[in-house]
Symmetry: C2
Subunit: 204 residues, 2 copies
DNA sequence: CAAATTTACTGAACACTGTTTATTTTCCAA
DNA sequence: TTGGAAAATAAACAGTGTTCAGTAAATTTG
């Protein structure tokens, strides 16, 4: 029965077409300007067709989020190369922040917008983010083991480092640093100084 | 001419009625379920009437945000009472986080949602947040002066503390801590431990 | 091969959203 | 009482996510 297999392939290919179009539009036009109708128009199908491949917009967003995390993980694989755990921690932080500031619309989908998280049922695991988080936890546990940072509990350390990174990126993405009245061009610099300062402060 | 003065009062009163209704609905139903039509229905006016008192929804949101910040500032005035700057810093952090977790929809408006920030023109000051931020900066500069924390630069310290607080609250509000697979009841505890740990780590 | 059935797709509608404009209602001074 | 200004609105516009009846194509069956 090669037919049902081909149909399965067709289905997955169509899903990928929708996903790719969505991803492209998020990057180019941003989240707010990307509607199901726009995506449907882009792939030259009716809006209703999308509902044959995804339960609703949230599920579509969850899949786009998955792709976004794959990009972040690739970035980690490329940029986080040091053997010293503290150096690796620095690389993780810089990579995270640089990725967030350079791909603000993807960052939205990954860490700010509510929608994609509606797919996860109560007490269900958020699989999209677990690799990246595990990567951080692994690095921090080595830092603690080698007594390189002033934390004892890995989970608390991970929470702190992540919250710091996310806080910096998301406050910038959502323009809240306007309260500091910095020059637009300076801001990115100050954010980098800020994470640098944080790592210095938490190091022994 | 007492009439034009009364008209001015009437206008301000109407603005307040709209604002109060909006604020109430945000707190009760949440941001997403609060539309201009709902607000109009609540105050028994036509939706178009709102546009006689506010330029658009963003401007309305900006005013609601202002009220939300007044609430946060009141909370600070009540809860931040220690004379020791480091103790005050702790109180600020706990108050901020407790406020955010207890008023998630207001927190959205204050620090997460884009909309209200559209009112601020390029290079314009974000007045709503400046008091709360100044309060933190004042406290931190005293901490640094008395060499109580491992920071030298006030602005970098403020950025770090705010980012940490915001990171913790916003990751929780937007369900991203699901990746840690904690019990719902534990999570709030762990967040409090986390900020406690942070302050311990940055203190001398 | 033709008919029947399953699968894939879509047009049109529904109930919403923020916003604008022409029209009506209300108010106040002459 | 009437004319004009001010305030409020009904209705429309263009957009959103979503559903469903109905059509067109592909596949299985007789």
């Amino acid at each position: 029965m090669g037919i049902s297999e081909r149909k399965e392939r067709d289905k997955q290919e169509m899903q990928k077409r929708i996903l790719d179009a969505a991803m492209k539009m998020f990057l180019e036009e941003g989240y707010e300007k990307t509607s199901l109708r726009n995506i449907a128009e882009k792939i030259e199908y009716s809006p209703a067709t999308i509902y044959l491949y995804f339960k609703d917009k949230d599920e579509l967003l969850y899949e786009v989020q998955k792709q976004a995390f794959e990009q972040l993980n690739e970035e980690y694989a490329k940029k986080v190369i040091a053997t010293n755990p503290l150096e690796r921690l620095k690389e993780i932080c810089y990579t995270y922040i640089t990725f967030g500031l350079a791909n603000q619309e993807l960052y939205d989908l990954m860490f700010i917008i509510r929608a994609p998280m509606n797919c996860i049922d109560e007490e269900g695991m958020w699989e999209n983010g677990s690799d990246a988080f595990g990567f951080l936890v692994q690095c921090l546990s080595e830092c603690i083991e080698q007594k390189l940072i002033r934390y004892n509990d890995v989970m608390l350390a991970a929470m702190n480092v992540w919250a710091m990174g996310h806080g910096l990126v998301s406050l910038d993405v959502r323009c809240r640093f306007k309260v500091m009245q910095l020059e637009e061009s300076d801001l990115e610099n100050v954010i980098n100084q800020s994470i640098h300062e944080f790592i210095r402060v938490i190091s022994y």
